[in-house]
C-alpha cells in the first residue's frame, strides 16, 4: 500500500512525517481505565428504535454468559506496542486501518468479517465496497465507532490509537516492517481469529512462494549487486528492510548494507560509486528513461538497460509488507529474468 512505505521510510529515518509529527508515543500515555465489557454487538447496525429490544437481548444473553467457563478473556494477545489485549470471543466485526493488515486478515480467510477499511486499502477487490474510514493522516474516528467493531486493527504510528481506546474500542496496533514481523502479524491475527492451525499454513505458502521466486532467478543473475530505490530523495531500501530481505532471498546482493538502516536517504554519488549491476524502483522515482539523478547515466545498470521500473499495481505490490510478499518477489524475479535473459 502506498501509505505504509511512507511511514516506514520516515520511521526508519527517524524523521517524523508532518502527518504524525505530533503523534504521542503510546508508552507515554497513561493506560486508560479498564472499560466494562459491553454486551456482544448484534449483527448489523442497531436501529435507534430497537434500543429497548437490544437491551432485552443483552439481558437475556448475560446469564447465559455467566455460566460459560472463562468468558472475560477467551483470547489474550500482545500487540506491537507490547500491550495485552483481551477479547471475549473471536471478533466478528473487524475494522482495518492499514492495508497490509486487511490483506493479512483476508489471507487468513476472514475477509467477510471486515466491515470497514482505510482509504488506501486496494486488495483484495472484495473489500472495495466497504466503508472507507480515512487514512493515517485523517482517520475517521466517528466512522469507525459507528461500525461498532469488535476490534480495530491499526498502525502503531497512527494518532487514532489512543482516541479509539478512550472510546472503549479494542485496538490492536501492529507494525509489519520485516519478514519476521509480517510473520508475527499473521500469528497475532490468527490467534485473534482463534484459527486452530494458526498462521502456519499461510506462512508456509509465503515461504514456498519466496523459494519458488528465488528458483526462477536465472543463474547468471545470482550474486548480482542491486540498488532498490524506495522513494525519491534518494531513499534506498537497505538490506534491513523487508524489500531488502526479499532481494536477499532472490540471491541478489544489496549495495546498501544493513548498517545504514532500513530506508536511508543516501548521497546519490554513493550509488555511482557502488555501481550496481541492476537498478530497481517505482517508475515514479526512477523515471521513464531520463537519468534519475545527475551523473547516473554512467551507471553500468543504466548503460546496459538493466533497470526494473515497477508501475501501477505492481509498484504498490513490491512495497507492501504483507501476505503478498511472495507475489512481490515473483514480480521482481520476473524483471530480473527479463534483464538477464
Amino acid at each position: 500500500m502506498k501509505d505504509e512505505i511512507s511511514l516506514h521510510v520516515l520511521s526508519g529515518q527517524g524523521i517524523a512525517a508532518f502527518a504524525d509529527a505530533d503523534a504521542v508515543h503510546p508508552s507515554l500515555v497513561p493506560e486508560p481505565a479498564p472499560k466494562t465489557v459491553r454486551p456482544a454487538p448484534v449483527e448489523g447496525r442497531w436501529p435507534a428504535g430497537a434500543l429497548a429490544l437490544s437491551l432485552l437481548v443483552a439481558a437475556l444473553a448475560l446469564p447465559a454468559r455467566a455460566d460459560a467457563p472463562a468468558p472475560a478473556a477467551a483470547i489474550t494477545l500482545t500487540d506491537a506496542r507490547g500491550k495485552l489485549v483481551q477479547l471475549a470471543a473471536p471478533p466478528q466485526r473487524i475494522v482495518s486501518l492499514l492495508p497490509s493488515l486487511a490483506e493479512s486478515v483476508c489471507a487468513l480467510g476472514a475477509c467477510e468479517r471486515i466491515v470497514g477499511v482505510d482509504r488506501y486499502t486496494t486488495w483484495p477487490p472484495a473489500l472495495a465496497h466497504l466503508p472507507r474510514l480515512g487514512g493515517n493522516l485523517e482517520p475517521n474516528i466517528e466512522g469507525v465507532l459507528a461500525l461498532r467493531p469488535d476490534v480495530v486493527l491499526i498502525s502503531v504510528a497512527s494518532r487514532a490509537v489512543q482516541r479509539l481506546e478512550a472510546l472503549g474500542l479494542k485496538v490492536i496496533a501492529l507494525e509489519p516492517r520485516t519478514h519476521a514481523e509480517v510473520h508475527d502479524v499473521l500469528r497475532t491475527l490468527a490467534s485473534m481469529l482463534a484459527l486452530p492451525r494458526g498462521a502456519e499454513p499461510i506462512w508456509a505458502r509465503i515461504e514456498q512462494g519466496l523459494a519458488e521466486a528465488a528458483r526462477t532467478v536465472p543463474p547468471q543473475a545470482r550474486g548480482k549487486r542491486v540498488y532498490f530505490e524506495a522513494s525519491r530523495g534518494p531513499f534506498a531500501a537497505g538490506e534491513k528492510s523487508f524489500i531488502g530481505e526479499t532481494l536477499t532471498r532472490l540471491g541478489l546482493v544489496n549495495v546498501v548494507p544493513a548498517a545504514l538502516g532500513p530506508f536511508p536517504r543516501l548521497n546519490p554519488e554513493y550509488v555511482v560509486r557502488a555501481d550496481p549491476d541492476l537498478l530497481m524502483g517505482g517508475v515514479r522515482s526512477l523515471g521513464e528513461s531520463r537519468e534519475p539523478y545527475p551523473g547516473w547515466t554512467a551507471l553500468r545498470a543504466m548503460q546496459a538497460g538493466r533497470v526494473c521500473r515497477f508501475a501501477g499495481a505492481e509498484a504498490d505490490l513490491v512495497i507492501r509488507p504483507g501476505p503478498r510478499m511472495a507475489e512481490a518477489a515473483m514480480a521482481m524475479a520476473r524483471c530480473v529474468r527479463e534483464v538477464y535473459p
Binding site: K2, D3, I15, L137, P264, L266, E269, Y293, P294
Partner: protein, 337 residues
C-alpha cells in the same frame, strides 16, 4: 551601531576567498566522507572517482553556491522593498506556490505519466518555478499592484496560507509522494546537475545586474516612502520591478534545490552586522553571504553522516540561526556594558 565595521571591499574579498575554499572542499566531500581531490588528479587515479567529482560533486557544490547567492540577493531585495528586517524571499507566497506546483506535478506524473507528456517535459523544476512566480503574481493581483506595502504583505500571507493548504490537500490525496515532497520542503542539492547550474548562473547574472542598477531606489526607500517620492523616483513601477527580480531569483533557486530556509533572511542581517554600506554593496555582499552560508551547510549535510545525507535546509537554519542569536546576544551584552 558597530564602530569597528569592516570596509565592504574587505568583506567581499573574504567571501570570495571563503567561497573558493569551500568549493575546493566541496569537490572532496562525498559519500565516503572527506577525500583528497589531489589524489584524484593523479594519473593513476580511479576514473570513476574523477567522474563522480565531475558529474556530481562539482555541479552540486556550484549549485549550492548559486542557489545561496540567489536567495541571499532575494532576501536583501525583500528587506529593502518592504523596509522590514523580518522580510524574507518567501514572503509573497513563493514557497507555498512552489510546493503546490511540485505536489501537483508529482501527483500528476504518478497517475498517468504518458498522458502528460507536455507537463513531463516541464518536470518538477518547471512546476516549482511556475508555482513560485505564479504565487507572487497572485499576491500582486490581490494587492492591486505594489504601491501599498501593508496590502502587499497581507496578500502575501493570505496567498501563502491558501496555497499551503492546497498542497496539503494534494498530499493527502496522494500520500505516496510524501517522502519526495518532504525532501523538496527541506531542500536538497542532490538533483543539481550542470544544466541546473547554467540556468541558475544565467538568472543570477541577470537579477544581480537589475537589482544593482536599482540599488538607488532601495537606498531612497530606506529613508522612507515619502522621502523616496520626494527624490522624484517613480516608486510604483520600480518597486514592481524589484519584486519581479525577487520572484525570479527565489523561483529559480527553489525550483532547483527546494525550500531552503533562513538563507534569505539571515544573509542580509549577517552582512549588515559586519559592514555599513549602501544597497549597491549590500546586495552584492548579501548574495555572497547567502552563497557561502548555503555552500557551507551543504558540505556539512553531505559530510556529517556520510554516506547518508541530512536535509540541508535544517542545517542552514541551525547555522544561520545560531550565528544570528550569538550576534544578538553579543550586542545585548555590549549595550549593557
Amino acid at each position: 551601531m558597530n564602530a569597528n565595521a569592516l570596509r565592504p571591499a574587505w568583506l567581499a574579498l573574504a567571501l570570495l576567498l571563503g567561497s573558493l575554499l569551500l568549493m575546493l572542499l566541496g569537490a572532496g566531500v562525498g559519500s565516503t566522507g572527506w577525500e583528497s581531490v589531489w589524489s584524484l588528479a593523479a594519473p593513476d587515479a580511479d576514473p570513476l572517482a574523477w567522474q563522480i567529482v565531475r558529474d556530481i560533486r562539482l555541479p552540486r557544490t556550484l549549485g549550492a553556491w548559486l542557489a545561496g547567492a540567489l536567495l541571499g540577493l532575494a532576501g536583501a531585495v525583500a528587506q529593502g522593498v518592504f523596509r522590514n528586517p523580518l522580510a524574507d524571499p518567501y514572503l509573497l507566497g513563493s514557497a507555498s506556490g512552489a510546493s503546490l506546483g511540485v505536489a501537483l506535478a508529482m501527483a500528476a506524473l504518478g497517475v498517468s505519466p504518458f498522458a502528460l507528456q507536455g507537463l513531463l517535459r516541464l518536470g518538477i523544476t518547471g512546476a516549482a518555478f511556475a508555482g513560485a512566480v505564479g504565487a507572487v503574481l497572485l499576491t500582486l493581483l490581490l494587492a492591486r499592484g505594489a504601491h501599498n506595502t501593508l496590502r502587499l504583505l497581507l496578500a502575501g500571507v493570505v496567498v501563502g496560507v491558501v496555497l499551503g493548504a492546497a498542497s496539503s490537500m494534494v498530499l493527502m490525496l496522494s500520500p505516496e509522494i510524501m517522502q519526495a515532497m518532504q525532501s523538496f520542503m527541506l531542500g536538497s542539492t542532490a538533483f543539481v546537475g550542470w544544466g541546473a547550474c547554467a540556468l541558475m548562473a544565467a538568472v543570477l547574472a541577470l537579477v544581480l545586474l537589475v537589482a544593482w542598477s536599482l540599488s538607488r531606489v532601495l537606498d531612497g526607500l530606506a529613508l522612507g516612502e515619502a522621502t523616496a517620492l520626494s527624490l522624484g523616483l517613480p516608486l510604483a513601477p520600480l518597486r514592481m520591478l524589484l519584486i519581479v527580480v525577487m520572484a525570479l531569483a527565489t523561483g529559480t533557486a527553489v525550483a532547483q534545490t527546494g525550500l531552503i530556509a533562513f538563507v534569505g533572511l539571515a544573509a542580509p542581517h549577517l552582512v549588515r552586522s559586519l559592514v555599513r554600506a549602501m544597497h549597491g554593496w549590500l546586495l552584492l555582499l548579501s548574495a555572497g553571504m547567502g552563497a557561502v552560508l548555503l555552500l557551507g551547510a551543504d558540505l556539512l549535510a553531505r559530510w556529517l553522516i556520510a554516506p547518508q545525507e541530512l536535509p540541508v535546509g535544517v542545517l542552514t537554519a541551525v547555522l544561520g540561526g545560531s550565528y544570528l542569536l550569538w550576534l544578538m546576544h553579543r550586542r545585548n551584552v555590549q549595550e549593557i556594558a
